[in-house]
């Protein structure tokens, strides 16, 4: 007798229904979790609330486990790279030589531009950003699916990493930190579906938002104006919103099949195992969110008020000094130009008079030798010296000393209106489009 015909044959149906009931209960739980986590994330970001704390603790545990489990893959990758390097050494050598040449050019350009930029900054008294300290970290896990693009790095709060810090590799921006535990940080990549990055087109300074979609080439959205983007345009971080410093290289603009704009990320051109975390305080970190929510200005202490008044007075005094200096410079330059013009006129008159006296002292003297005229040709007599009032006399055959044109000098800058800060023009160094190294050096050279 088989069990189908036995006393246990009826067990199947209730067990199936129990399983279906359990599945429905768990489905409801999952939907509740989804809604709750979305609400929590909308209120305070990825690391907010109990779920955020749980995620941070999970990352702390997952980092060593992931590193251990990924070790065989690492070894395989290293072995494959070793074999590949052995077989493709010649072609790699050629590529590297070419690359060295390109990098040397980029380095020379960068040195020259840095020098010029430094002088401009001194002349314009620009307040440049201080150098941003960096933390180097190794990526231990890399999530690459269409629904999430994130990376775990083995540097955390102990190394000074904070929420929101931008992350780069040796080519360009990778993403930013969205979770930090003691020794691990979670990096949200630019290509993640939740990532939105304010960027600009270097050629036109047009702003846009880089929107990840889980693919390797994120979309460029909210581009304003016509023809503001072209194929191959360099895309940099704009610094808007204070999340990223301005000018970090992101990638190159490319058109997709539908005619929309996308960005080929520089960060994808390099290996992704090592990253640099810029310990950069964005705006949200430098202010207390609670003070923004109140809508009232913070109350200053007496010392703070005195410091603010002193800083304002110093600023006004500096502006007045600058205006006076500009005016004095302009007056001095105008005086010098007048003197030079008068001197030139006097010299010309003296030369003309000297030539006229020479002619008067030698009346029989033949005029300046001329080429022999052909027989029968009429020869015009020498014209007398002509003199126009106010101008030096002009004699034929005598070179005339013309007054020198005043030396070209930079025009004095217009003085700023009282109470207004002086206008500052920022000169950006030219960047060679499509050259990641030049862009990298130009964009992050000062860091």
């Amino acid at each position: 007798m088989s069990f189908r015909d036995g006393p246990l044959r009826d067990i199947r149906a209730p067990r199936t229904w129990l399983a279906v009931a359990a599945a429905i209960v768990v489905l409801v739980i999952a939907i509740g979790l989804l809604i709750a986590s979305r609400d929590e994330q909308a209120k305070g970001g990825t690391q907010a609330g109990k779920w955020g704390e749980a995620r941070v603790k999970f990352d702390q545990v997952a980092q060593p486990v992931s590193g251990l489990l990924a070790a065989p893959f690492r070894w395989t990758s290293q072995g494959a790279n070793f074999i590949g390097g052995y077989f493709f050494a010649a072609s790699q050598n050629r590529q590297l030589r070419q690359r060295v040449i390109e990098l040397e050019r980029a380095r020379d350009t960068a040195i020259a531009l840095k020098n010029i930029n430094g002088r401009y900054e001194q002349m314009l008294r620009l307040r440049t950003e201080p150098p941003i300290p960096m933390v180097t970290a190794r990526a231990v896990a890399d999530v690459r699916g269409p629904f999430a693009n994130a990376r775990l790095a083995d540097a955390g709060a102990l190394q000074g990493v904070k929420l929101g810090n931008p992350v780069m590799n040796d080519r360009g921006v990778v993403g930013r930190v969205v979770g930090v535990s003691r020794s691990v940080s979670r990096i949200l990549l630019l290509s993640d579906i939740d990532s939105r990055t304010p960027v600009l087109v270097d050629r036109t300074n047009a702003r846009a938002i880089l929107t990840g979609d889980g693919g390797g080439i994120p979309r460029l959205e909210y581009v304003r104006g016509r023809d503001t983007v072209r194929e191959g345009d360099l895309i940099l971080t704009s610094g808007d919103g204070g999340l990223y410093p301005r000018g970090l290289p992101v990638g190159v603009a490319a058109k997709d099949a539908r005619g929309g704009w996308r960005v080929r990320l520089y960060a994808d051109r390099a290996n992704i195992d090592f990253v640099r975390i810029l310990v950069f305080d964005d705006f949200s970190q430098s202010v207390d969110p609670a003070s923004l929510a109140t809508g009232t200005a913070p109350v200053l202490s007496e010392d703070e008020k005195a410091a603010v008044a002193a800083a304002n007075a110093a600023s006004v005094q500096a502006q007045i000094d600058q205006q006076v200096k500009d005016q004095v410079q302009a007056q001095v330059q105008a005086y010098i130009q007048q003197q030079q013009q008068a001197q030139a006129q006097a010299q010309a008159q003296a030369q003309a008079q000297a030539a006229g006296q020479a002619l008067i002292q030698a009346p029989g003297a033949s005029p300046a030798p001329q080429t022999a005229a052909p027989p029968g040709a009429t020869v015009s007599p020498p014209r007398p010296a002509t003199a126009v009032p106010g101008r030096p006399a002009v004699l034929p055959g005598v070179p005339v000393a013309r007054p020198r044109a005043p030396t070209a000098r930079p025009r004095p800058r217009p003085a700023a209106a009282p109470g207004q800060p002086p206008t500052v023009t920022v000169v950006r160094p030219p960047v060679q489009f499509g050259d990641p190294d030049a862009a990298f050096l130009a964009g992050a050279g000062g860091n």
């Binding site: 088989s2 069990f3 246990l8 067990i11 199947r12 067990r15 199936t16 129990l18 399983a19 279906v20 359990a22 599945a23 429905i24 209960v25 768990v26 489905l27 739980i29 999952a30 939907i31 979790l33 989804l34 709750a36 986590s37 979305r38 994330q41 990825t46 749980a54 995620r55 486990v65 992931s66 489990l69 990924a70 065989p72 893959f73 690492r74 395989t76 990758s77 494959a80 896990a141 890399d142 999530v143 690459r144 699916g145 269409p146 629904f147 999430a148 994130a150 990376r151 979770g179 979670r186 949200l188 993640d192 579906i193 979609d213 889980g214 693919g215 390797g216 290996n271 992704i272 195992d273």
Partner: protein
């Protein structure tokens, strides 16, 4: 009245495969490239969701899948409940059609598995698009779907290994 000689042990057909799926997920997230290509990233628990429903109806199965889904959400940084819901949809669909698909050949089961996984991916795609306000990359989704469908031999092996272990479900 004795029990059948072969009885399914929970840790054998739920516990151990669950740990292996977690370990495989962690291992395949290694930040390396082999011959300039990144490692594929299939959803390993999808194979379990299908296989557990085919092996036998169980009360523990859905809870184990919820745990696996939470693990994926934690590790990948997706909203909590996203992958739990997607895995449960696969499990639920397989459970409802269990009577139909039991006893089918491997090729037919593979097609059924691909359809179930498509349902799970569709759910995740829609939820992610609604949550982020932008649809996920279609090509990337298809690649990950294909990598997950390629896991069918694992699901089939599990099914073969445990389907007949409990003779009450023959």
């Amino acid at each position: 009245m004795g029990r059948p000689s072969q009885h399914l042990q929970t840790h054998e057909w739920i516990g151990l495969p669950m740990l292996v799926a977690m370990a495989a997920t962690l291992a395949f997230a290694a930040p390396i490239r082999l011959f300039s290509l990144p490692l594929p990233e299939p959803i390993f628990p999808m194979a379990l969701a299908f296989a557990w429903a085919v092996i036998r109806p169980s009360v523990l199965g859905p809870f184990a899948l919820l745990l696996l889904g939470l693990f994926l959400d934690m590790f990948w940084g997706t909203p909590f409940g996203l992958w739990g819901l997607s895995l449960l949809i696969v499990y639920f669909a397989a459970l409802l059609t269990w009577q139909l698909i039991a006893g089918q050949g491997p090729q037919a089961l593979w097609i059924v598995y691909a359809v179930m996984v498509f349902l799970g991916f569709g759910c995740a795609y829609i939820l992610a698009a609604v949550g982020a306000g932008t649809p996920p990359n279609v090509l990337g989704s298809l690649l990950q779907y294909a990598a997950t469908v390629a896991l069918y031999p694992v699901a089939y092996w599990l099914t073969e290994r445990f389907e007949d272990a409990d003779v009450r479900f023959r």
